[in-house]
Amino acid sequence: MVSKRIIPCLDVKEGRTVKGVNFVDLRDAGDPVELAWQYSQQGADELVFLDITATHERRKTMVELVKAVARNVNIPFTIGGGINEIADADILLNSGADKISINSAAVRNPGLIDELAAAFGKQFVVIAVDTRYHDGKNLVHLNGGRIATEIETKNWIKEAEERGAGEILLTSMDHDGTKNGFDNPLLKKINDAVSIPLIASGGAGSMQHFTDVFQQSNVDAALAASVFHYGEIRIPDLKKELRNNNILVRD
C-alpha cells in the first residue's frame, strides 16, 4: 500500500526562505533550494513551497525557484501562492513543478479548478483550504486567513473534489502555530468525506502529533514547517517513531 507522507513546508519571498531556519549543516539558511535538498536527503517524501512574494516580478521569481528546485531535488514538490490563471500554472508545470496549490483564487473563481484539471490533469491540482471554527461551523478563510467567508469547509472541499481537485491541503487556523497537535476530528470528518488524498496542516509540535493524526484521521500526508526548520523534529527520527507505531512510511 501507499505510505504516509511527511511534507516540510517552506515559505519563500523574493526567492528566499522567510521563516527562520536553524539547521547546523546549511551554508545559507535562506536558500530554499539548499534547504529543500537537505530535506530530501533526510527522507522528506515531498515538499511544499508557498511563495509570498508581493512584487509584480513574482511570476519570474517563482519560475526561477521552481526550476532551481527541479534541477537539484529528486522528490516531488508543490508550489503555491498567487496562482490565478492557466498561464501561471502552465509555466510552472513546464519549469518542473509536480503540483500547484491554489487557495483564494479557487474560491473566488471555482471554474478555475475545472479548467486546470482539464488542461493539466487532476494530479497537478492541489486545493489548499484555510479553515477556522466559528459559531459551530468550520468556515473557509481567504488571503492567508485574513478574510472570513460564509462557506462551510466540508461543502467547499466536496465541490473542489467534484470540479477536479487531485488533492486537498487543509490547514486548521485554530491549530496552526499552537504546537498542540493537528485538528484530528475535523481532518477525520473531511478524510471520510473525500476520495482524493488529504494533507493535514496546522498544529504539529511533537512526533506524537504525527502519530495521532495518522491514527485518528487516516489522512494521507502531514505537513509542518517550524518543527522541521528549527530542528525540533528530525525527519529520520519521526519516521522511526511512526514505524514503531505501525504507520507505513517510506524507508
Binding site: D98, G121, K122, Q123
Partner: protein
C-alpha cells in the same frame, strides 16, 4: 545517447533535470530523422492517455516507434501508451504490449489518484532494477493502471490490487512511477536504463 520523444506531453523539465544530475547525455526527438542519432529512447508523459496518444499520433512518429529495436522506456502515461487500450477516454493506444490500462474502480474504496510512495516488488531479475533492494519505494501519481500480466510485468505494486509497476516486452520497457522524482532508487533506475 538517450533520445527523448518530444510530442508535447508536458513537464519534460523534471526528466531532463534528473538526466543532467546523473550526467546521462540526451537530446530531443521530434521528427523521423532524429531517431538514428540515439541508442535508446524515453517516452515521457503526463495527463490524459487518450490526449497524449492523440498528440503522439499527430507527430507521425508512431509507426517508427513500433518498429524500434533499441531500448525504449515509457514513463507514467508514456508507459500506458505502450499498451493496447486505456479505459481513460476508451482510447486505442500503440498496442506494442498486449495489456490494458484500467481505472482504479470505486468499489476498491481507495483514494484516486494513487499518489505517493509505494513499494515496487521485482517479479523478475530485470536489469532495470539492478542494484536495488527487492522492494524499493518509488513515487507514483496516476488514476489508471496497467493490469498485472505474468508475461510482461517485471515489477508490481499493490494498491487495492496488484498492478504493473513496470513492464517489458523485448526492447520496450515501461514504468508507471516517476523515476525522476523517486529519490535514489529512481536515479539508479535511470542509470540502469542508460546502460541497457
Amino acid at each position: 545517447m538517450t533520445g527523448i520523444i518530444n510530442y508535447g506531453a508536458g513537464n519534460i523539465f523534471s526528466l531532463t533535470a534528473a538526466l543532467d544530475r546523473l550526467k546521462i547525455p540526451y537530446g530531443m526527438i521530434s521528427k523521423p530523422e532524429d531517431f538514428d542519432q540515439y541508442d535508446r529512447y524515453i517516452i515521457p508523459g503526463v495527463g490524459h492517455a487518450g490526449a497524449a496518444m492523440k498528440k503522439l499520433n499527430e507527430t507521425g512518429l508512431v509507426p517508427i516507434i513500433k518498429n524500434l529495436s533499441k531500448p525504449v522506456l515509457g514513463i507514467c502515461v508514456g508507459m500506458q501508451l505502450l499498451t493496447d487500450f486505456s479505459e481513460e477516454g476508451d482510447s486505442v493506444l500503440t498496442g506494442i504490449t498486449p495489456v490494458k490500462t484500467l481505472l482504479f474502480r470505486e468499489d476498491l474504496k481507495l483514494k484516486v489518484p494513487h499518489m505517493g510512495w509505494n513499494r515496487v516488488k521485482q517479479e523478475t531479475n530485470n536489469p532495470l532494477f539492478k542494484g536495488m533492494a527487492p522492494a524499493s519505494y518509488f513515487y507514483f501519481v496516476h488514476s489508471y493502471f496497467i493490469e498485472f500480466n505474468p508475461t510482461f510485468t517485471i515489477a508490481s505494486a499493490d494498491y487495492g490490487l496488484k498492478f504493473s509497476a513496470a513492464i517489458q516486452k523485448q526492447n520496450f520497457y515501461g514504468v508507471q512511477f516517476h523515476p525522476e522524482k523517486s529519490g535514489e532508487a529512481g536515479e539508479t533506475l535511470l542509470k540502469n536504463f542508460s546502460k541497457i
